[in-house]
């Protein structure tokens, strides 16, 4: 006889999570840093530029997806503002991917830093993404080691 395998022992214990605003602020700061580092490489390194820009794009797509969810808790005005920003990021990223030149990253870096500054310092007005990790796409969440 094998040991009996019981029903699921998990009780409904809520998981402690980081403040989502902190996580988002960190993620925006991190991707801004990566874009900055890629921008400053000498000689210019196109693959590194593309990688950094794509990572930033992924982050902004996560924001977009959560903002488009029906149960997004953010006020409609803030949602629309951030979606406008996200659309801009989409357009600028597309331009960079078509013709990657370092100086084109300036505006993306600036947007990230300013938004991160707001998230990391202002009183809570709701997170861009519901509580939990920001998923970094295939393989790893953004806020774990590479």
């Amino acid at each position: 006889m094998s040991p009996p395998i019981r029903s699921n022992p998990y009780s409904n214990v809520p998981m402690p999570t980081s403040d989502p605003r902190q996580v988002e602020g960190w993620a925006l700061t991190e991707t801004a840093l990566r874009m900055k580092n890629a921008q400053q490489l000498q000689p210019a390194n196109e693959p590194a530029l593309l990688q950094a820009v794509r990572t930033n794009w992924r982050l902004w797509t996560i924001f977009q997806a959560s903002l488009l969810e029906p149960d997004c808790p953010l006020p409609i005005e803030i949602r629309n503002n951030i979606l406008s920003l996200a659309n801009f990021v989409d357009r600028r990223t597309g331009e960079i991917l078509a013709e990657p030149t370092p100086d084109k990253l300036d505006i993306l870096i600036r947007i990230n830093r300013e938004l991160a500054g707001g998230l990391l310092t202002a009183p809570p007005a709701g997170a861009l993404v519901p509580a939990g990790e920001i998923k970094g796409g295939p393989g790893k969440p953004i806020n774990t080691r590479a």
């Binding site: 006889m1 094998s2 040991p3 009996p4 395998i5 019981r6 029903s7 699921n8 022992p9 998990y10 009780s11 214990v13 998981m15 991190e30 990566r34 693959p47 593309l50 990688q51 794509r54 990572t55 794009w57 992924r58 797509t61 996560i62 977009q64 997806a65 959560s66 488009l68 989409d90 990223t93 597309g94 991917l97 078509a98 939990g132 990790e133 998923k135 970094g136 796409g137 295939p138 393989g139 790893k140 969440p141 953004i142 774990t144 590479a146």
Partner: protein, 646 residues
């Protein structure tokens, strides 16, 4: 962050690869898989991780219905060639199909920015819809839902596959990872369950429930000390959790040194920790049949269901109305033996213990009979809530007591004086529940067809057989078996496969038997139980947590079973069953007698033949194979509990 990868190709190389890509797609579409594989091999022999080769592998994986494998290849292809839009386009569709909107949107935007257009549709896998159609049809986590449905239906290997598929697309879904760990354990893959849950530890996300599953996994691998440690950690992390405590109690049965007093004390301590539920007024049955509810465990041994069905079928329908509180619908295959046995079926698979208890109270059940014991924590919590005026513990109670004051009666083996007396009282000398003996033991089986067992000659290899898991292979048992095989040169010990072929388990098994010098004389047989026991000459019951059903399966194939009458119900249940069947000649009172008995049956054809004759007689007319007699005694107990007020 994404893995830092140096792309293999430049923009110009990417454009050049398009031709190769088109050729491979045509090959895959034509179904010439061998040619495709040869082409892939040629590509990657020159350039490992050639993106076109990886894409072709992804196409093959999709053709075989394994999108998670395709995902891995596609990601690598995309990382190697950042300029080719086809790869992110397919990734986008795969993610959308998996319900991951964010990743699907990202790759969709990326492919467009890289110049994807409808002109490239011919390069996409035919099995997949185009992106826009996928987006219209997006649903939330479809693979996880499918896994949950399969898990509920106890299709565990398939459930594990779908959990893995979901996790490929949602690697941060820790709850799904937990569910995968539990599913792997339930599917008999404990080392994979452990590895799965260890990944949560890497992220610092281990919970008490995870530790409990890890404990159960360790026990299944025969690592008793590690199991005990994990159980302790789980209970320290979440002290009031009844499920965790039950899991620990159920596992105690497999510890080699656990005595019946220790088991009883642990059960009582746990029972005492639960809030007291007020007693319900006794059954007020006037002018109607006595209503009996059976709690059927979803983890029940299939033969437990047979025993319950045989008992109910032989019960007096004039006296009793039968309600079954079971897992899933009555139409499920696993519930087939119970068909026709009941008056009402209740599917409680989606209910928590409070709702189950409320359902039972709403049905005005007079007597609730539990058949799951500590192995089904939900049942224990239902009982603790006093779901019925009279509550009975029958099957699944290998330790002999549930430790619950809310259980009025624990059925005992009437042929076992120690079991009837019950475990020693607690510190205050009081027993928690009343013991009521069933005169012919706790189990009954439908009378089987008599097996045909030809006489065994003195020549020929002797095969001893055992149906045991790693959790039961303790040093004391191995020492006895080593002694038996030492006394029967040339004999082999055959073990029925309990997932021993899973990674790591065979090594553990070999190590166990090497420690007693037996590894060369042990074989594994994958046959199902009946065929397994038909092929062995003598079956050896383990010392710890032996199941009477396994012994009955052997007997029904005419195979003598040797059992040691250990101390405590959990170590004596097979011996008791053999005695009830009039097969005292197969019961050993001491370890030395166990060895001598096995040796005698193996080396003396007359002794063996005599045992087989006795088995055939037992199958014809002994109490365990007389469900009518058993049911009559069972009915008497139920009538007495109901106060004869019907």
């Amino acid at each position: 962050m994404e893995t830092e990868v140096v792309p293999l190709v430049s923009r110009s190389q990417s454009r050049a690869n398009r031709e190769i890509l088109e050729r491979f797609v045509l090959l895959v579409e034509s179904g010439q898989e061998q040619e495709v594989l040869a082409g892939i091999e040629a590509l990657i022999s020159e350039e490992p991780d050639h993106p076109v080769g990886l894409y072709a592998l992804a196409l093959i994986a999709l053709a075989h219905g394994v999108p998670e494998v395709a995902l891995e290849s596609l990601i690598r292809a995309h990382q190697r060639d950042l300029y080719e839009p086809v790869y992110p386009e397919v990734l986008a569709v795969l993610y959308i199909k998996a319900g991951n909107l964010a990743e699907g949107m990202y790759f969709g935007k990326l492919s467009l920015s890289l110049g994807y257009s409808d002109a490239l549709i011919p390069l996409l896998p035919k099995q997949l819809p185009i992106f826009s159609l996928s987006l219209e049809q997006i649903v939330e986590a479809p693979y996880r839902r499918q896994a949950q449905a399969l898990q509920k239906a106890r299709c565990l290997p398939d459930a594990a596959q779908f959990y893995r598929r979901h996790l490929a697309f949602f690697p941060s879904d820790h709850d799904a990872r937990r569910a995968l760990g539990m599913t792997l354990l339930q599917a008999g893959q404990p080392s994979q369950a452990l590895a799965c849950l260890e990944e949560l530890r890497e992220f610092g996300l281990i919970q008490a429930g995870d530790l409990s599953v890890m404990a159960q996994s360790c026990l299944a691998l025969g690592e008793t000390e590690a199991a005990a440690a994990y159980h302790q950690q789980a209970l320290s992390a979440d002290p009031g959790n009844g499920d965790l405590a039950c899991a620990q109690l159920a596992d105690l049965l497999f510890y080699p040194d656990a005595t019946s007093a220790q088991l009883a004390e642990a059960a009582r301590a746990w029972g005492a920790s639960l809030p007291d539920a007020p007693a319900l007024p006794g059954p007020a049955i006037k002018g109607r049949r006595i209503r009996i509810g059976y709690l059927i465990s979803p983890f029940a041994h299939p033969k437990d269901v047979d025993v319950i069905a045989a008992t109910i079928a032989a019960s007096d329908p004039q006296q009793f109305e039968i309600y079954i509180y079971g897992w899933l619908s009555a139409d499920e295959a696993r519930n087939a033996p119970l068909r026709g046995c009941y008056d009402e079926w209740r599917d409680v698979s989606d209910l928590d213990h409070a709702t189950t208890a409320a359902t039972i109270q709403g049905d005005e059940i007079d007597i609730l009979v539990d058949t799951g014991g500590h192995g089904t924590p939900l049942h224990c919590l239902v009982l603790a809530q006093r779901a019925a005026p009279r509550q009975v513990s029958w099957l699944g109670n290998a330790s002999g007591t549930l430790g619950l004051a809310a259980v009025d009666v624990e059925l005992a083996d009437g042929t076992d004086a120690e079991d009837c007396a019950g475990s020693p009282g607690g510190p205050d000398g009081l027993r928690v529940s009343r013991r009521v003996a069933l005169p012919h033991g706790l189990y009954c089986y439908d009378r089987p067809l008599l097996p045909e067992r030809p006489p065994r000659s003195a020549a020929g290899q002797i095969l001893f057989g055992a149906d045991v898991s790693l959790a039961q292979l303790h040093p004391d048992l191995l020492a006895l078996w080593a002694e038996i095989l030492a006394q029967v040169p040339g004999a082999k010990l055959v073990l029925r496969d309990h997932g021993f072929s899973e990674d790591g388990q065979i090594d553990r098994l070999v190590a166990r038997f090497q420690s007693v010098g037996l590894s060369e004389r042990v074989e594994i047989n994958e046959a199902p139980p009946r065929e397994f026991f038909r092929e062995v000459d003598v079956a050896l019951a383990p010392l710890v947590s032996a199941h009477p059903h396994d012994a009955v399966t052997a007997l029904c194939e005419g195979t003598p079973v040797v059992a040691l009458a250990g101390a405590g119900r959990h170590r004596r249940v097979v011996a008791s069953l053999l005695r009830q069947a009039g097969l005292d000649r197969l019961v050993a009172e001491t370890p030395e007698a166990y060895v001598a008995l096995a040796q005698s049956l193996a080396t003396d054809p007359q002794a063996w033949a005599g045992a087989v004759d006795a088995i055939l007689q037992a199958l014809r007319d002994s109490p365990p194979f007389d469900p009518d007699n058993f049911a009559a005694a069972f009915d008497e107990v139920m009538l007495a509990l109901a106060g004869n007020e019907a």
